[in-house]
Symmetry: C2
């Protein structure tokens, strides 16, 4: 049976965008939400948009987490700790969790172009503390604007993948490379998510100043195609 | 008389690289160093390399700072506070200072791909505290690798310029745009240097992992050429 990718907190724009792109790449997707009905409605809408043989279902976050091999965390930072505590005993051992969370100041009513200080250093390192040891973790996809993930156009952006776990890093890189135009780049250890997460706040600032939703990043000068 | 640009702490690779590029663009450069003779030797070497009518001189940091209209700070972070205290009463009112400093962990013996926490938030904000009010400050050039600044080849990188002072932001942007290939991008307020500085540590990590010295950043999806 094909692997299942859960997109937890997946009814927001970033989650729906990643669900869209990964479903178009042929992956089996379960959108997770606090409200199972909301997730199912979002899944149906996405299936209708993509058409063809798109495999997108919806479920409560805990149901989606229990049945997946890979889970993407696409919840706001303010909801991350609560969700991960709820899911503590739900995961199958060996599940790869990919954190996309950015600790934007919006979590406490601040500006989206500013960051919160997180004691552990980053949302990803905070997630690592809250996940059981049997689950692998990578941090990725932070710098892809949700609006670029709609539809099927080429995305002119690189995705930095940070992890202390080789399997998780490879899985996240493989998924990133499935989005047309996207290039996965080894971002080093999980702690480097401190920098990668903050780059999202910078991109949001560029979007605001230029009145667009499309700012992204490419790295130059690397010996990779 | 043409304006003078001082490159303070300019005998290191980043300072020499910026001196090289700005001299090639026709600017009048004074390389500053703790040791005036060392600065003069570096200036002569650069004049010989560039040839033609390159205007590059050398002087002690305080002499260079006193005679310039624009100063680039290219010292290691560990030397920044000492230098700025020394220069406190030296600046001409209206001087534009452009800080390129990155608080890398190397300042305390750590890895160049890691950052120090700076109480003020960034090296640039620390510099602001140490500079007199009559001096304008922008932060820029952090993400240009020194090795890319040698010679005269096109540089495939963007330069984020952060400042709370419109004159300083315009001056730094103008200088960045003089380097072939470089595109200056408005990075917002000076406090955003927190993010831009940390991106240098990320680029150093990419260089180390890929065994190159050429990693850089381009922004995509912005309505500018």
């Amino acid at each position: 049976m094909a692997r299942t990718i859960a997109i937890l907190g997946g009814t927001g724009p970033e989650g729906l965008g990643l669900a869209n792109r990964l479903a178009r790449a042929g992956e089996r997707i379960v959108i997770g939400s606090r409200d199972a009905q909301r997730a199912q409605d979002a899944a149906k809408k996405l299936r209708d948009e993509i058409g063809g043989s798109a495999q997108v279902d919806g479920a409560a976050n805990s149901t989606a987490a229990a049945q997946c091999e890979i889970a993407l965390l696409t919840i706001p930072f303010s909801g991350m700790a609560g969700l991960l505590k709820e899911l503590k005993t739900v995961w199958k051992p060996g599940t790869v969790v990919i954190d996309t969370t950015v600790p934007l100041a919006t979590a406490v009513g601040g500006a989206p172009s500013k960051m919160l200080g997180v004691w552990q250093g980053s949302a990803a390192e905070a997630a690592r503390e809250l996940l059981p040891k049997e689950v692998s973790l990578a941090a990725a996809f932070h710098n892809l604007s949700a609006s670029l993930l709609e539809g099927d156009a080429t995305v002119e952006c690189d995705v930095l993948v940070c992890s202390d776990d080789e399997k998780a890093k490879q899985t996240a890189s493989e998924l990133a490379n499935k989005i047309p135009g996207v290039r996965a780049i080894n971002g080093g250890k999980l702690e480097n998510a401190r920098i990668v997460e903050s780059m999202t706040a910078l991109l949001i600032g560029l979007n605001i100043r230029h009145k667009v939703h499309s700012a992204g990043i490419r790295f130059t000068g690397l010996p990779i195609s």
